[in-house]
């Protein structure tokens, strides 16, 4: 996926989202560049998680949730094009706030979980071994688990479990990975490990991270977008957004006057 500076890998166009009658996104138009980290910041309830969940069509899995507008992945519409929700989610991986290893599976099977769902097209044993190893390496977990791949994933620490979930998302070789407050439930050391990992991931894919931690956004992201009450207020290179915001509401938020 070669994307020029001017052509974003992922793009939302006048995106609106609802929970029943409650409108949580209002005409959000935003670009996400390839090989870059985009942070979405804003106070609780501003719609940043919903925006993230619209990017891989997870929003619609909630009863009574609906979406209007569109999202383009590499120029292809994910809502009105040929891609179905399953295909979209295989191209755009996701990691949640709390680690979600599958408790009945081993570490190895967790990482391979996304590979085995195409019945009949599941890769051969050797290929799977290779994919699992590469995914765990990219998630910075290989050296810690390589001798216990057959053990239950629930035996890992919280930070390890979260990196396992990142490896699981990477195994299907997505072009984009979405991180929904990935360090919210982790201790400072594990948080640092994940942040370093995010930095490495941007060398190869697009990363979108939702965070309520502004220092984290400042540390890990190339671009940042500020949301308020379902609206995209401002998006800019991270340093610009934090030091020289255009909108007074952005300034109030990043200087800690509310939120």
């Amino acid at each position: 996926m070669q994307a020029a500076e001017t052509e974003p890998l992922l793009r939302t166009h006048r995106l609106n989202a609802w929970f029943g009658g409650n409108r949580v996104l209002r005409n959000v138009t935003l670009d996400f560049a390839d090989r870059a980290v985009t942070a979405i910041i804003g106070p609780s309830g501003c719609g940043k998680s919903t925006l993230l969940r619209c990017l891989n069509r997870m929003h619609e899995t909630v009863p009574e949730a609906s979406v209007e507008g569109d999202v383009f992945l590499d120029g292809t519409s994910i809502y009105n094009g040929d891609l179905n929700a399953i295909a979209v989610r295989r191209h755009i991986g996701m990691v949640f706030q709390r680690p979600t290893p599958f408790p009945t599976m081993s570490i190895y099977d967790n990482v391979a979980a996304g590979l085995r769902i195409r019945i009949g097209a599941s890769p051969r044993r050797k290929e799977t071994d290779e994919i699992v190893r590469v995914a765990l390496e990219r998630a910075g977990l290989w050296s810690e688990v390589k001798d216990r791949l057959r053990e239950s994933a629930t035996g890992l620490s919280g930070g390890q479990q979260q990196r396992l979930c990142i490896a699981r998302a990477l195994a299907t070789k997505p072009g984009v990975i979405l991180l929904d407050e990935p360090t919210a439930s982790l201790d400072p050391l594990s948080t640092q490990t994940i942040e370093e990992l995010v930095h490495e991931l941007r060398e190869t894919i697009a990363v979108v991270i939702v965070t309520h931690n502004m220092q984290q956004a400042a540390r890990v992201s190339d671009r940042a977008a500020f949301m308020l009450s379902g609206e995209m207020i401002e998006s800019a290179p991270t340093s610009t957004l934090f030091t020289n915001p255009r909108d007074s509401r952005t300034e109030d938020y990043v200087t800690g006057r509310f939120g």
Binding site: N56, M58, T61, I86, A87, R89, R90, G93, M94, F96, R98, T100, F102, P103, T104, M105, S106, D109, A113, G114, I117, R150, E151, S152, T154, G155, C165, R168, A169, T172
Partner: protein
């Protein structure tokens, strides 16, 4: 206050300890290998065994499980999936009512609708009555176990590109499975000792029979028949039979506990 609860906790375990102690004292001496292999001797004669009743009870449990487990688990899956729908609310309520139904009432109904129309007592009617008792129990535990699976796991599977169907089977059901197995075993343990429904359906049998369309012997029925007889030797056999029955229930309960433990240990694969 804590002292009182301590006393209550001790008293709560006393009946079981007393029963087991008494059963061991009364029944253990008669519990020779022949008890498991021989047929009952005529009333009043010493010796003999309950081979037919032990096998009969296992056949009844098997028949009840073949009927009760698929229906109960299926209904539980439905309730967990459609928890708010009108049908689910009705089914859940009726399950709870059925769960509290006195087993003698169930036995009378089984006689009316399974025994009388088909011209006689049978193992099949007994198994069906016991199966009907299992259904509400299995339904409710299956539903509870499925609900215990965190919604975040379902989300994680969907986000990986799993279809809804595949998410339900290989993530949700797979995660809930040890709990469902435990629920099934608890239900089996509960019906293993049921007597009242069998009086109206399986009837009991002094002879060896494994035919589903014939009356069949069962441990609870045999214990009942021996206990109310006037013979000392028969009483001894009743004690031994009770000991075997409680051992079967205890073994099933222990397996259930083990399955539950494996669940919380994470299991591995």
């Amino acid at each position: 206050m804590l002292g009182l609860t301590y006393v209550a906790a001790i008293i709560a375990t006393l009946p079981l300890l007393f029963i087991i102690f008494h059963l061991l004292r009364q029944g253990a001496t008669f519990l020779r290998p022949s008890f498991f292999t021989e047929m009952p001797k005529p009333m009043g004669e010493a010796g003999g065994g309950m081979a037919n009743a032990i096998v009969g009870t296992l056949i009844l449990i098997g028949t009840a499980s073949i009927l009760g487990l698929p229906i109960g688990i299926g209904a539980g899956l439905y309730l967990a999936d459609r928890r708010g729908s009108p049908l689910a609310t009705i089914v859940r309520f009726l399950s709870d009512v059925l769960n509290g139904l006195p087993s003698i009432v169930l036995g009378i109904f089984a006689w009316e609708f399974l025994v009388r129309p088909f011209g006689g007592f049978s193992a099949l009617a007994g198994g069906m009555a016991l199966g009907a008792m299992m259904i509400p129990l299995v339904t409710r535990t299956t539903e509870e176990m499925i609900r215990l699976v965190p919604a975040s796991l379902r989300e994680a599977a969907l986000a990986l590109g799993y279809t809804r169907w595949r998410t339900s089977v290989s993530i949700v059901l797979r995660t809930a499975l040890p709990g469902i197995v435990t629920g099934a075993l608890v239900a089996i343990a509960r019906i293993a000792g049921e007597t009242a429904p069998l009086l109206f359906t399986a009837l009991g049998n002094q002879f060896w029979s494994t035919a589903l369309r014939e009356p069949i012997a069962a441990l609870p029925l045999q214990i009942f028949a021996y206990a109310i007889s006037p013979y000392e030797t028969a009483h001894a056999q009743a004690w031994a039979g009770a000991l075997v029955l409680i051992a079967i229930v205890l073994i099933i309960s222990l397996i259930a506990r083990y399955a539950t433990r494996a669940r919380y240990a994470g299991g591995g694969d």
